[in-house]
Symmetry: C2
Subunit: 305 residues, 2 copies
Amino acid sequence: MNIGIDMGGTSAKVALVNDRNRIVDVTSVPTGLKSSPPELAKRLAAAVKKLAGRHVRRIGVGVAGDIDSHHGIVRISPNLGWKRVPLKMLLQRATGNSVAVENDANVAAWGIYKTETPSSVKSLIAITLGTGVGGGIVIDGQLHRGATGSAGEIGHMVLDPKGRLCNCGMRGCLETCAGGTHLSAIACEALKKGAKSRLQKIYKANPQAITPKVLTEAARAGDRLAQSLWENAGRALGRAVGDLIYVINPERIVFTGGVAQAGSLLFKPLQLELSRRPFKTPIRVVSIAVAKNPAHIGVLGAALL
Amino acid sequence: MNIGIDMGGTSAKVALVNDRNRIVDVTSVPTGLKSSPPELAKRLAAAVKKLAGRHVRRIGVGVAGDIDSHHGIVRISPNLGWKRVPLKMLLQRATGNSVAVENDANVAAWGIYKTETPSSVKSLIAITLGTGVGGGIVIDGQLHRGATGSAGEIGHMVLDPKGRLCNCGMRGCLETCAGGTHLSAIACEALKKGAKSRLQKIYKANPQAITPKVLTEAARAGDRLAQSLWENAGRALGRAVGDLIYVINPERIVFTGGVAQAGSLLFKPLQLELSRRPFKTPIRVVSIAVAKNPAHIGVLGAALL
């Protein structure tokens, strides 16, 4: 039995995973900016003990941010408000188990690779479309971490230097075109300007209700504003994916995260962009899919690190 | 002793390389669109025999184009006018030696990795700035070929969908911003429109004399047109390199090819672009260099395949 931990900004999901890669039991631990890392490590250790008693082999943790997975140090995690936290050491001390710490997008890629991918496939790129956009890369059956564990930072590829301002400070990152927060903001800006849309009513009642899910429903119901928004997001994503295919030439690309649930609204324009690329060999070979088990891929991937 | 062959559109360079990775002897064989692949294989075999007698272990060949290195098949090589040529088989039959065939940019990356890179470095991206722009990637000390041997197609990353028309049919590929042919064309277009520049005289005498080398000399001598051209090329290259660093997180990036000889004209704006990137961890770790032995890296890399 292994433990997978998916550290979020408000809570950590802790799952007990058996040797068949099935989740046996799951619990959650509050995180938040107020808890110190050693305190949180103790709370996590208590949750692990409650879940599994002494039958734990390994603990894997996925954390959003800049992670030194080699030393198990969280260099920066804006969600948790952490800088230079030796999470691996803290958790090993608190639990007595061996611990691996990894960037959450890498964890998702590893989970998808180990639990949803035919064993004949040796390379994939997993793209997490959540509030932001992340990526993880598997090459030759190994997680490609890069020189500093920073590889796969797909969301901040610059698609348009004159584009929208990204949280990172640059303009026109992929995340500003296909991240959930930006998609909502783009829609709200258009609605504020009076764009004709069935979303106006929802927007006027509560702008925060303009979520990617609501945008998906509106587009499926025929709303033009929502449709053109997904069209633009899919095309931008298609451009970035086209570049990634040219550079990495993977066998598979798998999307996960809430925004990926828009399905064909996003993937039809994406495929159209890909079909325009003239070098067909790498485009034809790649299969594009959506993760089957997005809700649990974080803890599963972490447990399998 | 190994043989390295660098197949160009007009001639193939054939080199005998010793076990210390030094070129012992070199010759050339005409290629061109008129010779059939079996004929050319025979001519290459004769050159190999003349160079080395029977003392050859392996032959490696670098070919520009879409190469199936697994089977040693040239899928498409526009330079040679080839489609689906089983070059490995033809050369093995003609020489009796074991033969490896690889894309020329991959060969350059391998040559740089094996002959110019400290053994502590395990990952690099080699970017060939010639008439076009190519790339080769080494990860964990291995050439990263990708699912179909197409990886590293850096020159056709799309930087601006509304940009210059590329030979490939897309617009705004990196190659249209930093490839030699396009740099010359951009300069000629400005000169045709009457741009104030010391290059006007050369252009009026012979537009084909506006080469990247001439543009480098003009910029170094203070010509504003040439300087702004290199500035733009360097910034575009910096954007693409920034994306590559975020995605692959390599230890080293090495430039080779004629256009790379522009030196700081190109690399100063490139570094400026990189310094703007907010995620410092992968940017700080990467060292950027120019190949020391660009003239021979093709045959050296091929001999070491």
